[in-house]
């Protein structure tokens, strides 16, 4: 048992690590924005009276939540290919991550919608607000405010899960690590560095979401309620 670590040999590849980390953040950013939209739509869809739409949204959410991301990524990757559509690994990765996080977002948003007291919607109707106004001001924004902490941890988990995209050769952080370790034969050191980078990325994301929360929800900032 002799453990010899040689970090400098791996650390001199820092530009590649940096590029990988940037791509990981890009993946996370696009999937978060698109996934939030998709998830909100699915949550709204599940609440409609149209049983066809509600059923379709339920099938989508349950299917995604009960299968591994790795399988979903391969299905999207090979599914698009078998339809004759050719996209870059990055595009496929964003698509798969969006579909994945959309389902989780939908569940969180549904919980937020259900937490809106019925009386508030009735009051808004009594004040003659339009349907759109009710949806935006009375349901959506307060619901987001309620579930904001759950949403943000889901998005941090998404950033970590984007590591799986290395399996379809999207050049994000884990793929960079796989390449560097096969080049330097310094696997343990490489993955230690990458693990540290992921911890830093997740702390940065948490801090970013905390700041964004302060900006988005001034009411909470004034009340001093922690997000």
């Amino acid at each position: 048992m002799s453990l010899q670590l040689d970090f400098p040999a791996v650390l001199e590849r820092w530009p590649s690590f940096l590029a990988g980390a940037v791509l990981t953040l890009e993946l996370a950013f696009f999937a978060t924005v698109l996934g939030a939209l998709l998830g909100t739509l699915a949550a709204v869809g599940r609440g409609t009276h149209n049983s066809l739409i509600a059923g379709a949204c339920k099938v989508y959410v349950e299917t995604i939540r009960n299968t591994p991301l790795l399988v979903q990524i391969f299905l999207v990757y090979f599914g698009l290919a078998s339809l004759g559509l050719k996209y870059s690994a990055f595009t496929v990765a964003v698509a798969a991550l969006t579909i994945n996080v959309g389902a989780y977002t939908a569940e969180i948003m549904r919980a937020g919608f259900e937490a809106i007291p019925r009386g508030q919607i009735e009051a808004a109707e009594g004040l003659a607000l339009s349907r759109f106004q009710i949806y935006w001001h009375i349901i959506l924004l307060p619901a987001v405010e309620k579930v904001y902490p759950a949403l943000t941890s889901q998005f941090v988990l998404l950033m970590l899960a984007s590591s799986v995209c290395s399996q379809i050769s999207a050049e994000e952080l884990t793929a960079v690590a796989n390449y560097i370790q096969s080049d330097t034969y310094r696997a343990f050191e490489t993955y230690i560095i990458v693990a540290v980078l992921y911890v830093i990325l997740s702390l940065v994301m948490r801090a970013g979401f905390w700041g964004l929360g302060l900006l988005l929800f001034p009411r909470r900032r004034r009340l001093g309620t922690p997000l």
């Binding site: 009960n66 090979f78 343990f188 693990a195």
Partner: protein, 222 residues
């Protein structure tokens, strides 16, 4: 690139599915034991123990499982031991599951109502007695639905063990695909198999949650 999906392929996939269940159980039991220790350490009266366990949880929860698997696989090799994919995957998943279950269970232990802790103290129970006889029996009830829910995550996450060469369901699908090259059909079968394993657990977890909710609303009508 030859032949069609036949019974032998399906048998092979079935074997992979059994290994997925096996690896999930290893991760659940190993992670459960370590996670229980983590949960207790997180509420320890000693500040250093609390801090150390909090750092452990933060580090694991800030690292993707894929990287933890690689660390386990190459780390065991780096200290000069022979690695089998089963050991590497089992150890990595144990560490990973422990961090999450530890946090879930800490929350459950702490959500046992405060008067219960005070009453136990008032009855002059020792710290161990209070935990074993008063707090844990109630915490287990609270912890059941989220733990069953997390088992779904464990099953799904074992699919990542394929990257270190452990032949579970995902890896056996990749192997079958290498000989048949019908990726879409094979991964669809894999997806359906995972769904068949996970969905009953999801439903069970939801049902437990609803039952708990009923019990609680009976106690304290809102």
């Amino acid at each position: 690139m030859g032949g069609h999906l036949n019974i032998n392929h399906l048998m092979f996939l079935g074997q992979g599915a059994l290994w997925t269940i096996g690896l999930s159980l290893i991760a659940l039991i190993g992670g459960g034991i370590v996670g229980f220790v983590i949960a207790l350490a997180r509420i320890s009266p000693l500040k250093s123990v609390r801090l150390a366990s909090a750092i452990y949880v933060q580090l694991i929860q800030g690292t993707p499982l894929l990287v933890i698997l690689f660390l386990g696989y190459f780390g065991i090799a780096a200290i000069g031991l022979k690695v089998s994919p089963l050991v590497a995957a089992g150890a990595s998943l144990t560490l990973y599951v422990a961090a999450y279950l530890g946090e879930i269970w800490r929350g459950c232990i702490q959500s046992v109502p405060k008067p219960q802790w005070e009453a136990a103290e008032g009855l002059a129970l020792s710290r161990t007695q209070r935990m074993v006889k008063v707090i844990l029996p109630q915490a287990i009830r609270i912890a059941t639905p989220p733990t069953v829910g997390f088992m779904v995550q464990i099953i799904k996450n074992t699919s990542l063990a394929s990257v270190v060469g452990f032949v579970e369901l995902m890896r056996s699908g990749q192997i079958v695909n290498n000989s048949l090259f019908e990726p879409f059909a094979i991964y669809a079968i894999i997806a359906v198999t995972y769904f068949a394993m996970c969905y009953p657990l999801s439903l069970f977890s939801q049902r437990l949650e609803r039952r708990m909710g009923r019990g609680r609303s009976n106690l304290a009508p809102a």
